[in-house]
Symmetry: C2
Subunit: 341 residues, 2 copies
Amino acid sequence: MKPKLTLKHIAKELDVSISTVSKALRDSKEIGEDTRQKIKAFAKLYNYKPNNIALSLKNRKSKTIGIIIPEIVHHFFTTVISGVEKVANELGYNVLVCLSGNSFDKEVLNMEMLANGSTDGFIMSLAKETMQKQDYHHLEEAINQGMPLVLFDRVVDEIACDKVIIDDVIGAKKAVQHLIKIGCKKIALISTVDYVIVGKLRTQGYKKALEENGLSIDEELILKIEEIEDSEKKIGNFLKGKDVDGVFAVNEHFAISAIKALQENGKKVPGDVSVIGFTDGELSKRFIPSLTTVSQHGERMGEEAARMLIEKLERDVEEIENYKTIIVETELVVRNSTKHY
Amino acid sequence: MKPKLTLKHIAKELDVSISTVSKALRDSKEIGEDTRQKIKAFAKLYNYKPNNIALSLKNRKSKTIGIIIPEIVHHFFTTVISGVEKVANELGYNVLVCLSGNSFDKEVLNMEMLANGSTDGFIMSLAKETMQKQDYHHLEEAINQGMPLVLFDRVVDEIACDKVIIDDVIGAKKAVQHLIKIGCKKIALISTVDYVIVGKLRTQGYKKALEENGLSIDEELILKIEEIEDSEKKIGNFLKGKDVDGVFAVNEHFAISAIKALQENGKKVPGDVSVIGFTDGELSKRFIPSLTTVSQHGERMGEEAARMLIEKLERDVEEIENYKTIIVETELVVRNSTKHY
């Protein structure tokens, strides 16, 4: 038996992208006639089986769930994995984890690898690049071939499947409302660029809370950051000399960078400025001052996702597709980075 | 094709442990004649293939590396995964991650699952329970069947294979020597129970540093903790009223719990007591005071492990086995939880 031909081999051999190969093999009109024919001929010549997902499905159940996440350094994703593990273990399933590294190509390759008999279904949070490209054909392919998929956290409306999300808008609104309640009037927002959906939604929540409380939105007080790497510097520059009494940050790293920047500018937290973060990691709990934060319940999200997926996998008959979106509630955890009433 | 029979099925059906099934199928004399025959008959009846590792090896290369780690909540393990990912991506390999949850049975099942054609080799850090039981038959089996294995961090002498470790003894010695150099005379140690090898080695380093500097070892100043969960309380009780001027903790969680406990007892860190941790996570960097720590270079450990494994996988001929142990050097990172000279 020769090594199995993969999308990657074909792409490399014909010098086109993985996405192009995948689309051409599904006869997508997005790909020009010429290229399509060339790719299909090559695949035929080397006996590539585009339908190995469906084949493996019919042949056997692996009793294994595949998780594909963008990165592992975020504490949030490790808590989701713990939640999936918990339910999967209880119900006799194994779990395999793959990282996309926020790369679209790697996400596609991971799916191909896992679909090839190793797993029965997917739990995924999308790569940043996938959302930027808005190319979801690999997800559609899996679904079309009867491979159940549950998206969590970084989900998109374009894909009809089971989803587990949190109430990002409401969560952010809760945080900002709390800042207003303790007397803050000039509240800065530190968010991510808009194509990261959760950043966008949390920005909406921030704006809603201000509007509903009769405070005006000052775009000067809003910072949107692309990468986590140089965020500390960017947040430092942003806050330097800014007259604020509250900061809402969309993750705990941004929140802690904000506290450090404020302290370096001679401001006291929470004496002069109250700070609230999002996601309740180890850092939030143990930082001094401990961080008031919107807790995301990553473990519960993982549990819900695993439960939905396994339920689908264990159904015998093909029922009419019926997708659910479970919204896991957030909770404001008040600690020492915000003033008390 | 019927669902594949696994070790787990057999164990459940015959009401014996997974380890017993695995050993019986290898004809291990550790298992009584009766049980062995019963298990082998059952396996034969249902066509169980104990040699699927070897079979899959001969048939194809999956170009995939399997990582099995005890847990994912430790920042250290996520950095190792990042390191493996980096080298694997460069060299065209995929990576699958599985968690043993520190359970022996799950470690055995994970290996069975991954060996079954999904991966070409393993990078592993052993489960706590495996080290407690000292049962390594699953590792031996993989190696005997030609499946390369690289152990890292939690390794054992009993298994001959490639290993990546850090200089735990030297790392710990460096830390304690630093404490002595800045004037500490009563240095407490917060370690793990001894069957966690790294805890044992770091304890050795602590003792060596004291001895070489003419300080006596006071067992009253040594705390050994089993579980991370209730460590905060245990460390609090241990330090209450203790007259110490230095603390060396074998991980960052213990170090930070120590700082909190000392502060609650009215002591200043580093004014009254200097504290050093081990592993350089986000928490160490961002805690206030930032933590002086022995940095473990998890990412480099992952890179070395991946490089060794892939080298083995890409050798064409069967060479005489030649195992290496790579020692990744630790580094003392001096921050603000220790006094300056």
